[in-house]
């Protein structure tokens, strides 16, 4: 029988050293007794010392997961913890993967212990209440806490990092932690009478606690699950929990029973600031009107109407299909990846984007949410038709000479009927109202092409198409 005495209740290094030696000597878990110096178990230690095992340099590997679990579980107050951990370690030596078996009784037990320790640590971080001694610059903050497990050393660094600029002490029956603004130190445990009894802010804190509580939603059980009664004796707000609960039903009843009072009439209410400013000109008025469009159901899920943009005297109007994710968020057409593609192609073709009017056939983003992303969906004919009035009114406000339809949806809007791109692409076509139209692909089509060679070719074709618009822009600027 091996009798091992550890220096302290939290002596992980001592346990590890002893456990390693024992395992290397193949000492069975049932042949080891663990105790802590000065602890209860040590009183029953055998008078004759155990045969001393030679500490050899041998080593073996255990998973890091075990080390993490053991470091936490050793802080548990259960006196059996050293033996349980040794038993698990002994079995792990020949069966590495055992630590992953959540259903193994030893693994489950150690996991539960480690979890209890971490929960207690978390509760200490939450429920320590400092009380101020002395005022202002000379202030020292002192707390009294009764941890369930040996967690003071584990929990203290959190407070050192959080309250770095103030000296504090946390007193507990096991061990006391102190921070002087520079370093952590520990002294033996003390009794509660050593801790300050109150703080000048506690009444204010209780008032806050009482006010933030909604008596119409009494859920006492839920409160107690998270804040068990054992912690209450050291929480200043706990003294008012019972009166608050007792009063809650009466208060809720009174709220329901009291007839509504006459509304209070303020003298003059300013205008609702969320409403947007009134329009300055007809294009602005159109934009404002379109912001409230309900002609189809697409407005429901979209962020906003994305209306056309550009100078009122533009002689070229670019029509895209519909706004995408970025456009929907920003409220501007062609600002996302397709917009950047368009900008590049326009610059290469020699078209000044600042001088063209850019819009979309459909003014709301159509999508289906898929988790955290929105999948773009093609607008249907009724949706394109419902939106066409805005396109037509934009055309009459801008009076462009050339309309460039990018993509099938745009072509459908410009020609008023389904128009295949393949046949009409790259030619200038006369519209019934005397304007000219040019059909090309949508820049997002270029983004979707998987084949890099095709991508380059298609992009070149797209630029060629836009060059027709560039020629027209040059001609009319000469004319102007």
């Amino acid at each position: 029988m091996q009798y091992i005495t550890l220096d302290t209740e939290t002596d992980f290094d001592g346990w590890r050293k002893a456990a390693r030696t024992l395992v290397l000597h193949h000492v069975k878990p049932t042949d080891v007794t663990w105790a802590v110096q000065g602890g209860e178990a040590e009183l029953f230690a055998p008078s004759a010392p155990s045969p001393i095992l030679e500490v050899n340099d041998g080593t073996f590997n255990v998973s890091g997961k075990f080390v993490d679990l053991a470091q936490a579980a050793i802080l548990h107050r259960d006196p059996e913890r050293f033996a349980i951990l040794y038993r698990l370690l002994f079995r792990l030596k020949d069966n590495h993967d055992l630590i992953e078996v959540a259903t193994d009784p030893d693994v489950a037990l150690v996991t539960v212990m480690a979890r209890a320790v971490h929960r207690d640590e978390h509760k200490m971080h939450a429920f320590v209440r400092f009380r101020e001694i002395g005022r202002e610059r000379a202030a020292h903050y002192v707390a009294w806490f009764e941890p369930e497990h040996y967690i003071v050393e584990l929990a203290a660094p959190f407070f050192a990092k959080r309250f770095a600029d103030m000296p504090w002490s946390i007193l507990t029956p096991d061990l006391c932690a102190h921070w002087d603004g520079h370093a952590l130190s520990f002294t033996p445990g003390v009794s509660k009478s050593e801790a300050p009894g109150e703080d000048r802010l506690e009444e204010t804190w209780r008032r806050y606690y009482a006010s933030i509580f909604n008596p119409a939603r009494l859920k006492v059980k839920a409160m107690q699950t998270e804040m068990p009664k054992k912690y209450w004796r050291n929480l200043p707000e706990a003294s008012i929990i019972r009166p608050l609960i007792e009063d809650a039903e009466r208060m809720t009843g009174a709220m329901i029973a009291n007839a509504a009072t006459d509304p209070h009439k303020p003298q003059k209410r300013p205008e609702a600031p969320m409403k947007r400013k009134l329009a300055a000109d007809d294009l602005e008025a159109l934009r404002e009107e379109a912001a409230h469009c309900r002609a189809c159901h697409l407005y429901k899920d979209a962020t906003q109407t994305v209306f056309g943009e550009g100078p009122k005297n533009a002689n070229i109007m670019l029509v895209g299909e519909q706004p995408g994710d970025k456009e929907d968020l920003a409220g501007h057409p062609f600002v996302g990846p397709a917009g950047q593609m368009l900008d590049r192609a326009l610059a290469e073709a020699g078209v000044d984007r600042k001088k063209v009017y850019v819009t979309n056939a459909v003014k709301h983003f159509k999508f289906v949410p898929r988790g955290k992303i929105r999948l773009h969906q093609k607008p249907t004919t009724p949706e394109i038709r419902a939106c066409r009035q805005w396109y037509e009114r934009e055309v009459s406000a801008i009076q462009p000479d050339l309309i460039v339809a990018m993509g099938a949806t745009a072509a459908q809007s410009v020609f008023g009927k389904i128009t295949p791109i393949g046949k009409t692409r790259g030619r200038v076509i006369d519209l019934p109202d005397g304007r000219k139209a040019l059909v090309t692909v949508h820049p997002s089509y270029l983004l979707r092409l998987p084949d890099p060679e095709a991508k380059v070719l298609e992009y070149q074709r797209f630029v060629e198409d836009l060059k027709i618009a560039a020629a027209l822009q040059r001609k009319s600027s000469r004319a102007a």
Partner: protein
């Protein structure tokens, strides 16, 4: 009015906002010796719990409860007769620091009634955060409510100081917002959410927390919102559809559901009744299924329908899809396991790790922290196979419902 009285009024006015979390931000502390405070990147810390079962993590107050708007569901609406108060910036800063030093709170959650105009209101809210961060080097958590349509520069500044920003969508449908809050504009709320998302995306693309310059920092804990449940007639399907849209469109971290409570000095247009807490709970469960379990709204609840109140939404789904069960726990994929009633994400991880080396048996369920009663009819284990008739039983649902109690006859 003394600060304590102001605190009572302005905390009371803020208690209907369900948001309380102090989670999901970057890791910070004050170990450089300058200033005070820290944040936990994963889980925030709940420092106390109120008897309503909700956690108290932040000092949650309004800057002022005076408001130009007259939203019927709100206790602070212009026509309400509640007492009004307004903090000064210094009072609020001092209160936050004083509470923080005593370890009562994780930080501040500041909202405000809208006074004068959105920019003025936003400026006051931002000033508190600025003072905390720049003068007191406060490193704790700050959640600011964004005022819709406030100036872009103010929003950018808010994101520089705050960990999280939020704007409440308030009502699941545009029509109910129009009815209850005629001055609020759902488009304005969405436009602001959209702007926030663009800024959040930009900050995210700007590099990691360490390489990021100060000007790039923008609300590392993201944005959230709240919906009031039970004040209007919206169905659970409508509510969840709206949430799913909000998650996808604006990358919200959380949608909070707040069961509408009877409020003091209520408007005559509102129903007076106890809040539908169970319905709120079911909505949170359904929301969880969408975010962590891969469920679509349409799978959780049919168009126009309500979630069942007597059983949880995952169990309801499983009972509607009995043909997919029983599932062999030792073979099923992660996605399939996540759909078993009673199996949480952590239990599924434990199962997958465990079955690599050993077979899972009936007696193991407790150690995997799986509720037996709920899961057993739906799973196959090496020593358990539910009777084929059992899954087809019409009365299977009875097994899960809370036991009915016999009505007593008064003698």
């Amino acid at each position: 009015m003394d600060v304590q009285r102001k605190l009572e009024i302005l905390a009371d006015a803020a208690k209907y906002d369900a948001s309380c979390a102090s989670s999901g931000t970057e890791k910070r502390d004050s170990s450089d010796g300058k200033g005070m405070g820290s944040t936990a990147p994963g889980m925030g810390i709940c420092h106390s719990y109120a008897p309503d079962g909700r956690c108290i993590s932040l000092l949650k107050v309004l800057f002022t409860n005076a408001c130009n708007y007259d939203c019927l569901y709100c206790v602070n609406r212009a026509s309400s007769n509640v007492p009004r108060a307004r903090f000064t910036i210094d009072e609020l800063v001092k209160l936050t620091i004083d509470f923080y030093r005593r370890n009562y709170i994780e930080g501040l959650f500041l909202s405000s009634g809208i006074i004068r105009n959105p920019d003025y209101t936003m400026e006051q809210v931002v000033s508190v955060a600025r003072k905390l961060r720049e003068e007191h080097h406060f490193r704790g958590y700050i959640h600011l409510k964004t005022i819709p349509e406030a100036d872009d520069a103010l929003i950018a500044e808010a994101g520089k100081y705050a960990d999280r920003l939020s704007i409440n969508i308030e009502m699941p449908e545009e029509t109910s917002l129009q009815q209850f809050a005629p001055e609020k504009d759902v488009r304005a709320i969405r436009r602001t959410m959209g702007r926030l998302r663009l800024k959040l995306d930009e900050a995210e693309e700007g590099g990691t927390a360490k390489t990021k310059t100060k000007s790039q920092r923008f609300a590392p804990a993201g944005q959230s919102t709240q919906m009031i449940v039970g004040a209007d007639g919206a169905s659970d399907h409508t509510i969840l559809h709206t949430s799913s849209n909000l998650y996808g469109s604006y990358r919200l971290r959380r949608v909070y559901y707040s069961a509408f409570s009877p409020i003091p000095d209520a408007s005559r247009a509102l129903p007076l009744r106890a809040p539908p807490l169970l319905r709120e709970h079911r909505l949170y469960q359904a929301d969880w299924l969408m975010r962590f379990y891969g469920f679509d709204v349409g799978e959780i609840v049919d168009g126009g329908a309500m979630l069942p109140l007597d059983i949880d939404p995952k169990l309801a789904w499983a009972l509607r899809h009995r043909d997919r069960f029983p599932l062999d726990v030792n073979r099923a994929s992660r996605e399939e396991l996540l759909r078993v009633p009673g199996f949480g994400t952590k239990a599924v991880e434990r199962i997958i790790a465990t079955r690599r080396t050993t077979t899972i048996r009936l007696s193991d369920l407790a150690r995997l922290h799986v509720p037996r009663n709920k899961a057993l009819p739906f799973i196959v284990l090496s020593d358990h196979r539910p009777s084929p008739h059992r899954l087809d039983e019409v009365r299977l649902i009875e097994r899960f419902k809370p036991k009915a109690t016999q009505l007593g006859l008064g003698f």
